[in-house]
Amino acid sequence: MSSAQIEIQLIASLVAITCAIPGTFLVLRKMALITDAISHSILPGIVIGFFITHDLSSPLLILLAALSGVLTVVLVEFIQKTGLVKEDTAIGLVFPALFSIGVIMIAQHANDVHLDIDAVLLGELAFAPFDRFIITGTDLGPKSLWIIGAILLMTLGLLLAFFKELKVSTFDVGLAAALGLSPVIMHYGLMTVASITTVGAFDAVGAILVIAFMIAPAATAYLLTNDLKKMLLLACIFGVISAISGYWVAHGLDASISGSMTSVLGIIFLFVYLFAPNKGFLSVIYRRRQQRIEVSLLTFLLHLGNHTDDETERHVQHLNEHINWQKVKAKSVLDLALKNNMISIENNVVSLTEKGKHFTTEAINYIVTNKNSEIEHMKDRFFLFRG
C-alpha cells in the first residue's frame, strides 16, 4: 500500500464517521432527505465563493456553502410553515431551484471558471491526496484530511456535549421543550452540522457519496438495533467497513471510488434488509405468515368450540368448505392444532382436547376484554409453534 492509498482510505473512513453521526439523527428524525437537498443546494454558495476566492478549498467557500445549506433548511421550513404544501414538497421545490441558479451562474461565467458540476456532485477521491496542506514548507498531509478531521472533532465534541439534549429532542419534542431544552436550537444545530459536513466532504468525495454515507449506514444500523448508542456505533462501523472495502473494489475494477463505496454500502444494506433478525424482510414475511396461521387456528378452534354437540359440523370433510379454506391451508392448520395437542381426531370427527378448550376460552376472553389483538404471551404459555 502506498501512502496515497492509506491517505485515501483514511479520508474516506473519517468522512464515513463524520457523516454517520448526524446521519443517524436525521434518519431518526425522518429528515433524511434534507441531506439530499443540502448537498445539491450548496452549489450556488460554492460558486459565489469560488468567484470571490478562485480556490476550491478556501475556508470562505466552505463557509458560504454551509450558509447556503442552512438557507435551504430555513427556506424549506418557511414554505412548510405557510401550510401551502407538505414538507417533502417544500424540499423538492427549494433545492432544484437553488441548484438551477448555481448551474446557470457557472454557465454564465464558463470562460473564467474552472468549476465542473460533475466534480461537485460526484467528487474524485483519488485526487484528494494530491492537494497538500503545506505550512512554511512542511508537508502536513492532504488538505481534505485536515478539513474532515476538524469537522469530525467538532461533530464529536458537540455530540458528547449535547448527547442527552439531542436524544430527548429527537424522540420526544414535547418533553424536550417542557424540560427547557429548546428543540429549535437542537434542530438548527443539527442542520448546521449536517450542512458543514456535507460541504466539508463534497470536495473530497462528492455530494452523492455524502448522502449515501449519511443515510445508508444509519438506516442499516436502525434495522439491527433500537438503542441510540449502539445505532451510532454500528452506523460508524458500517460506514468505515464500506469505505475501506469500497476502495479496494474500486482499485480492483479501476472504477470510481465513490461509486464503489456507495455500491458496497448498498450491498451491506441489502444483506441486512433481507436477513436482519427482527426487522428484516424475511423475518417480517415469516412473522406475517405465522400470524396468519395463528388467526386461522384460532378461528378453527372457535368453530370447534361452538359446535361441541354437532358432529357433522366437526367432520374433517366438512371443515374446508365451511370455514372456506383451501385444502393445503386447512391441512396445515389441522396439523398445527394436532401438534399442539389442541384437538383430537376420531373417525374423521375433530374435537377439542382439554388444552384446546382451555386455550379457546382464554383466547375469547382475551379478545373480548382487550382492544389489542395480539396474543403473544398466550402463545408463549401454550408453547404454540414449539411442538
Binding site: V27, K30, M31, A32, L33, T35, D36, H40, T82, L84, V85, K86, D88, T89, I91, G92, L93, P96, A97, F99, S100, I101, V103, I104, A107, Q108, A110, I117, D118, L121, I208, L209, I211, A212, M214, I215, A216, A218, A219, Y222, L223, A250, L253, D254, A255, S256, S258, G259, S260, M261, T262, S263, L265, G266, F269, K279, G280, F281, V284, I285
Partner: protein
C-alpha cells in the same frame, strides 16, 4: 430578437420547434402525473427515481454497446421501477420511514450507476459522451422522434387516467374506503407509480437527473394553490408545466450559455412563487390582507367597547370625553377614530369624543352577539 420574430422562428426552425414542442409536452405530462405524486405525498419520489434510473442506462449501454436512446429509456424505466418498488417494499416491511427509503435508493442506485459509468469509461470501445447528458440534461439533443414518443406516452397516460379517473381519485383521497368498496388499490398504486416513473424517464434526457424532481413537483404545487378540485388541478398543472417548458426554452434560446433544463426549472419556480403569493384562496398576500383586516376590525371593536364602558357610567351617553383618557388603552389611532366617526359611532369635536346612540347600541350588541346568538 423581438417576440414576433421568435414566434416565427419557432415555426420555421426545426431544432427550436422540436425543443419547444418537446419541453411543452414533457411539462404537460409531468404536471399531470406530478399532481398525483404531490397529493400522494410522494413529492420526492421523482428525485429518487430519476437518480435510480442511472444504473439502468449504464447497463443498457453495456448490453447493447451503442447509444441507442430507446434502449436507454427501457433500461432507465426498468431500473426506475425496481427502485420505486424497492422503496415501497422498504416502507411496508421495515420501520424505516419513507424519507430514509427514498434517500437510500437515490444514493445507492446513483452510486452504483456511477460505478458502472466509470467502468464503461475504461472499456476499449468507450464512447459514452451521450451518457453525460442524462446527468444534467441537454434539451438540444431532442429529436422529432423523441417528441413523438413523448406525445404517444402522454396520450396513453391521458387515456388511462380518464379510464381509471374515479378509482384513482378515490384511492388518492381515501384509500381505505376504496379498498372496502372492492377496488384493487394495489393495482391502482402500481399503475400510477409506473406512469410517474415513465414520465421521469422521458424527462431525464431533457432536464437531467437533478432537476427532474422539480419538473414533476413545481407545476403541481403551483396548481394546488388555485383549486381544491382534482380535475382542475391536473389540467392547471399540465398548463403550468407546458408553459414553463415553452418559456424556459424561449429564454434559454435567446441567451448564450444558458442550458434549457435549469431555466425551465426556474420558470416553474416562478410559477410556484406567484401562486404562493397571489392565489386568492390560499395565497400569502390575500391571507395577510385578511389577517390585517380582521385585526383592524378587532381593534376597532376593542376601542368601541372601551368607549362604551366609559359612556355607560354617565347618564347622558353622549357626554363628551377627552381623547386623552383613551391613552392608557393602546387600541386606538387617529385613523381608527376617524373610521369610527365615519361609521357614525362617535362624534369628534376638537380634543373631545362622544359616543352616538348608534355607537352605543352597536357596542352593547358586541357582547350580545357572543352571548345571544340564538336570537339572530
Amino acid at each position: 430578437m423581438d417576440i414576433q420574430e421568435y414566434i416565427k422562428l419557432i415555426f420555421t426552425d426545426y431544432t427550436l420547434r422540436t425543443i419547444t414542442l418537446g419541453t411543452a409536452v414533457l411539462g404537460a405530462i409531468c404536471g399531470m402525473l406530478g399532481s398525483f405524486a404531490v397529493l400522494r405525498k410522494q413529492s420526492l419520489l421523482g428525485d429518487a427515481i430519476s437518480h435510480a434510473a442511472l444504473p439502468g442506462i449504464a447497463i443498457a449501454f453495456l448490453i447493447t454497446g451503442t447509444k441507442n436512446s430507446n434502449a436507454f429509456l427501457l433500461g432507465a424505466l426498468i431500473s426506475g421501477l425496481i427502485g420505486s418498488f424497492w422503496i415501497r417494499g422498504i416502507i411496508r416491511t421495515t420501520h424505516l420511514k419513507s424519507d430514509t427509503a427514498l434517500g437510500l435508493i437515490l444514493s445507492l442506485f446513483f452510486g452504483f450507476g456511477m460505478l458502472l459509468l466509470t467502468y464503461i469509461q475504461k472499456m476499449p470501445n468507450a464512447n459514452q459522451a451521450g451518457l453525460e447528458n442524462y446527468l444534467f440534461g441537454q434539451a438540444a439533443t431532442l429529436l422529432e422522434s423523441d417528441v413523438w414518443m413523448m406525445s404517444l406516452v402522454t396520450g396513453i397516460c391521458l387515456i388511462v387516467l380518464l379510464l381509471f379517473w374515479k378509482e384513482l381519485k378515490l384511492s388518492l383521497f381515501d384509500a381505505d374506503y376504496a379498498k372496502t368498496l372492492g377496488f384493487n388499490t394495489k393495482f391502482l398504486d402500481i399503475l400510477i407509480t409506473t406512469f410517474i416513473v415513465i414520465a421521469i424517464v422521458l424527462g431525464l434526457q431533457t432536464v437531467g437527473v437533478v432537476l427532474m424532481s422539480a419538473m414533476l413537483l413545481a407545476p403541481a404545487a403551483a396548481a394546488r394553490q388555485w383549486t381544491n378540485n382534482l380535475a382542475v388541478m391536473v389540467i392547471l398543472a399540465a398548463i403550468f408545466g407546458a408553459f414553463s417548458g415553452v418559456f424556459g426554452t424561449a429564454i434559454s434560446a435567446n441567451h448564450n450559455n444558458l442550458s434549457t433544463g435549469p431555466v425551465i426549472v426556474l420558470v416553474a419556480a416562478v410559477f410556484v412563487l406567484v401562486s404562493f403569493i397571489f392565489s386568492p384562496g390560499r395565497g400569502l398576500l390575500f391571507r395577510e390582507i385578511r389577517f390585517r383586516k380582521n385585526r383592524n376590525d378587532l381593534q376597532l371593536h376593542k376601542t368601541l367597547s372601551f368607549m362604551y364602558n366609559i359612556a355607560r357610567d354617565h347618564e347622558d351617553i353622549s357626554h363628551p370625553h377627552a381623547i386623552k383618557i383613551l391613552n392608557n388603552f393602546q387600541g386606538f389611532t387617529k385613523r381608527s377614530l376617524q373610521t369610527l366617526e365615519d361609521k357614525d359611532y362617535i362624534k369628534i369635536q376638537g380634543n373631545m369624543w362622544s359616543i352616538t346612540a348608534t355607537g352605543y347600541k352597536t357596542a352593547a350588541n358586541l357582547y350580545d352577539q357572543l352571548t345571544d346568538k340564538e336570537y339572530e
